[in-house]
Symmetry: C2
Subunit: 812 residues, 2 copies
Amino acid sequence: MPGGCRPARLNTPRTHRGVTPASLHAGGTVASARPATLDAHWRAANYLAVGQIYLMSNPLLTEPLRPEHIKPRLLGHWGTSPGLNLVHTHLNRVIKERDLDALCVWGPGHGGPAVLANSWLEGSYSETYPDITRDAEGMAKLFRQFSFPGGVPSHVAPETPGSIHEGGELGYSLAHAYGAAFDNPGLLVACVIGDGEAETGPLAASWHSNKFLDPVHDGAVLPILHLNGYKIANPTVLSRIPEAELDSLLKGYGHEPLHVTGDDPRKVHQAMAKAMDQSLDRIAAIQRAARSGSGHGRARWPVIVLRTPKGWTGPATVDGVPVEGTWRSHQVPLPSVRENPDHLEQLEAWLRSYRPQELFDEHGRPSPAVLDCVPLGRRRLGSNPHANGGLLTRDLPMEPLERFAVPVDKPGATLHEPTRVLGGLLARIMADTSKRRDFRVVGPDETASNRLTALYDVTGKAWQAQTLDTDEHLTGDGRVTEILSEHLCQGWLEGYTLTGRHGLFSSYEAFVHIVDSMVNQHIKWLKTSRLLPWRAPVPSLNYLLTSHVWRQDNNGFSHQDPGFVDHVLNKSPEVVRVYLPPDANTLLSVAEHVLHSRDYVNVVVAGKQPCFDWLTLDEARSHCARGAGIWGWAGTESGAREPDVVLACAGDVPTQEVLAAAGLLRDHLPELAVRVVNVVDMTRLLPREEHPHGMSGPAYDALFTADKPVIFAYHGYPWLVHRLAYRRTGHAHLHVRGYKEAGTTTTPFDMVVRNDLDRYRLVMDVIDRVPGLAVRAAHVRQTMADTRSRHHAWIREHGTDLPEIADWTWTG
Amino acid sequence: MPGGCRPARLNTPRTHRGVTPASLHAGGTVASARPATLDAHWRAANYLAVGQIYLMSNPLLTEPLRPEHIKPRLLGHWGTSPGLNLVHTHLNRVIKERDLDALCVWGPGHGGPAVLANSWLEGSYSETYPDITRDAEGMAKLFRQFSFPGGVPSHVAPETPGSIHEGGELGYSLAHAYGAAFDNPGLLVACVIGDGEAETGPLAASWHSNKFLDPVHDGAVLPILHLNGYKIANPTVLSRIPEAELDSLLKGYGHEPLHVTGDDPRKVHQAMAKAMDQSLDRIAAIQRAARSGSGHGRARWPVIVLRTPKGWTGPATVDGVPVEGTWRSHQVPLPSVRENPDHLEQLEAWLRSYRPQELFDEHGRPSPAVLDCVPLGRRRLGSNPHANGGLLTRDLPMEPLERFAVPVDKPGATLHEPTRVLGGLLARIMADTSKRRDFRVVGPDETASNRLTALYDVTGKAWQAQTLDTDEHLTGDGRVTEILSEHLCQGWLEGYTLTGRHGLFSSYEAFVHIVDSMVNQHIKWLKTSRLLPWRAPVPSLNYLLTSHVWRQDNNGFSHQDPGFVDHVLNKSPEVVRVYLPPDANTLLSVAEHVLHSRDYVNVVVAGKQPCFDWLTLDEARSHCARGAGIWGWAGTESGAREPDVVLACAGDVPTQEVLAAAGLLRDHLPELAVRVVNVVDMTRLLPREEHPHGMSGPAYDALFTADKPVIFAYHGYPWLVHRLAYRRTGHAHLHVRGYKEAGTTTTPFDMVVRNDLDRYRLVMDVIDRVPGLAVRAAHVRQTMADTRSRHHAWIREHGTDLPEIADWTWTG
């Protein structure tokens, strides 16, 4: 592009207010574009964006603007809106001309007014919300509802037709775009990246997603880096480095940059149309070559760098201070319109500068010129079904679990690695979707470490960069997708599921906190989507958290954190599900359930280390269906009498310790009636009013009793169980053992001892809490305490657990 | 560098096992280095790294290796260790030759054996841990303790002398390095970045830190990108793109790359020494120019790209499969040494390949040749005081708070923006540290939005990129540091405080979850550091969370999340502190406390919007000292009788609603004895055994009573209060209102209504829960319910709150 980057120029106060048809035709060099109509569409969208921020009534300025036409509270973000409108206008053109199946991810989603304006212009909005008609009355409602009580959010949100990306927290647009493009070979996903967002870590890494995009089986992503120069109150890094340096960066990321720079709409329209055409030609050529087998080497995909002033076409100065082209136009450039007549006058002039009488007819309907560039039907960005992915979702094929289950003749007699068993099921699904290509497993380089290696028998790991002879399982079209970035794994899978496909994110339990903030946003998205009848349910976002807190002998304290469960349980109960299957068959049953589910975030915590098999598949199924239940074979209660004590457990290691404690109690205190309860679904502990899975009071009491001591060995932070169960009748008798940040450790058993979750400690808890047992069982208690001391000395001497611990098995 | 990048070559099974002095001298081209001694040091470090992973005894191989010499559990990461050892060796040389004050941040901190080996070689380890002497006996202990019960972690950790960076979660090394370099003009911070870590988002963004580093007032960062080609089970992105593309990327990041590539130790030593010299010459030139005023434009700092095989010098093949130079050498290359005689033999050959008899004397002391490159005293990387930053910490200057406090004649009569008031204090501290330069405020572009603008009267915003005439407050030497990346803000501040300086991170409450995982790691670091007598306490990491959940009228649902408090309260109570000051003066008092504190993570949640002033500075001080207290002036109890109900609150908006509810109760039900309790320090609610700030049972009961209804209006998720207070006598009578993900909203009052935290709902709660009141006060309850309905209709009509709400003030 001629001209290059001169930010200083963009900062000059602007006077342009659109272009006349004549001037555009005169200078028009874009082959197929009709520049005047493009400009008309852009002006209309700008007009509608300003209207949404300011106007309560008088939408078409049919009378002079008065204070009572203005909203009492001015909310919204103008700064990015004209740029988004420009992109939307030009996407419309190429979609229509090339009959493209296209989505757009709007990274600067704060610019909600822009995306709403375009959706209304193209008619998608009125089809989605018939009350907001495409005429003056609908325009008035569109304006009034924006960021108004009972109305719509000021950002791009689930309520926005055509969107799969909330404009809240920044950083994830490009990852979402790639997720949408994976396995959608016919799809173009444009992605506008604000230069503020481009400073975030997740976005900085997202550029490398192109090393994982297969031009044969995946669609294309067209990033549009929109440099308007500022974030809230500061310039942005990428807008203030030399253009050559930015080019070097983008080329280093593997992209071929095309520049569009300017503040003269006429020239920008031409340059943008040209850049769009060049980009799409280049994408088409890449895909053609790859799909015909004539491509070689990794593709260098285009990226458009669009430099236009922040708040472009808005007030150049306000109260004598430059606003357009500076950070001051970030939100509401004229803040005191109701109170300040000068501001009111300036607003009216600003609105009229778009010449609304040319853009809308007397009934407020967009003129034919405005709509000239707009595509039809499902090609419209606001109506593309990929952005309402549930419409396209198909159930996953799933063979009967019997095929993958482990045989269990008696509980606790055999060992399996639960995640390896799960790998069999996942591999089968992967194979059965090899044609449909609607299932992916993502992870930060831990698929093998997490023992899901059966997947590699049926698919490879996506990889477009260089390969060596010694590499294993790397293929261009693999559907296991691994990069050492939890942000990218999460962002890709969000984009993939929101466009209607299925997947699983397998991660280290401790480090999944890296995406705490992302899962917040995703849960909020799903919560809101569920309230919108027009949004079809999408496949759930499924986590498999393994390498968990109790098995960090190789890595220690820095790798111990079971708090992701706490984090998600703070969120909307309609969306959140948490499972802690205690063995291989329960993991299979849970996996079947979550992979079939819709609109949830499912967190499954499971071990990858050898773990005792407790339940047959049938038992596992019925246990999972209940979510929590009594393991009668493990306890010593009999008949109708309530037990003396309940040993409860959730999680694989706690379950093992509780069973070992139950065995010790059976041996040492055979007269004690012990009940063992295992909890798979943590939300069962909540009251019914607080979660759809919550147990009724009587059901809870039937499991845990109303007044007997309950010693609960929990996988994570112990207070979580109290937080879930504090309303229960028997809560005062509930004693929870869990993880408490006790520090470095070296064997799994040493770990449970340091956290007072071990079998010996649990037996001591029982003796301390069952009335009357303290004296009677004092010698047993002393034996337990002595064994713990012996363990302490032994492990420091030998580096391994006491033989009685290492060799323990259940003898029921 | 000649040769360039040929990963394939690095993959060739290796046979080199170090270099003979003769060959090195023959080929030696490095001016001042003594190549043979560098190689001796490197071999010694490699030997010690292998020894730590494998050996229980026989550390010097004085007898043939037998299974009983081998640890029973083999833990640790070999793959990265030889590369780290190479870097350490060469840093030693340049530090010694140039008398540098230097730190190194070891990004691939899994390579703990390497850093421990070097620390032992240079003597730092024995000085820190006198029991681990620098001789055969100490070497045996060094080996045995590694990742062994009662020993040290397998990663670089707080226990490692010279470290400020835990090798746990990856992504933060470069941000830590910049944080350490800021305001340390005499310091060189080398930073080894693994190519796995380089795939993470935070690391990808961290490269741009160079736009914020002032060559005059800050030290230098020398990134060393160590491409060994693999992460756990996969190749890495940056190792598999063409070298030209990588160069383009690094240049785009603003760096000047220098390459060191090879698998022949002799050549690599030479190339590495040359690259080190070139880098340091370049850094010195940049600093000289900038400091003499002759520099112009942003500096292009060097970066070293070091490509050596993963697991270099380890077993080339194991059981017929290539290991050296592949991902298979990531952890323990020979996994079955105790059981498999071939592996045992291979291990012995591997250890002997370093020629330990040349490296250690008969007593196991390092030979003079090994120690030739090692610097002395505090110049050693393991002994540099910057890595034990508390040694260098000075108390912050702090003028009396009276100077900044707001006058309060009576409660609730005036409004101030608390964060703006805090800005006055921060600005004063900033001014008073203008020479010392040991205080920074970091944030993601929100310092102005968060109304801390007084800072700009005394300092600027750090900025090294282009500036325009319209810019404000950008300066090269500013100590407000803003980038739209919470990861960088957090990483910088961690590096800054761990090297002994002070700071504050001001962030959006909802989006601080972006750094959940980072704060986990930092809290773990501090928890462990506190147990190490040799680590001096460092300034606390202080968060100011504002733009909080109750004031998201401009942004809505996506910007609402008060759960960071929940997240940190899962962590070690020794470290974590949480404050919710309800007004400007309490915020000042809290700020004074946290800025003086050490070794904590302090979370302060405070509003930026106008907020009623409740307490004078003296009252605020004594309230903060208690952490929670009765506001007698707000209640209606009298004399010794216990109140009928307690209205408790924590947070600014809940406090306002509770006071409004107290006013309504006083007006409508004057006979009711109401107590108002405000909680500033959330951890006061915990039992004493659970947190150092926890209240005793009697103290809790004296505040909240043992059996009266308590209606608690809490800033965040309501169950947090239950999780803190579930052990309290009166817990069954505790009813908490808080935030519950209720969805989009548009005014602050609408928000509290949607979450049932509003004054009317609180009054209804009181009526529902005080025995006998339901009938007597039915009409009051109805009035409250009617007002809520009126609010609902009014706000949807007018877009603003009911006048009686908008104009409410406290009339005590």
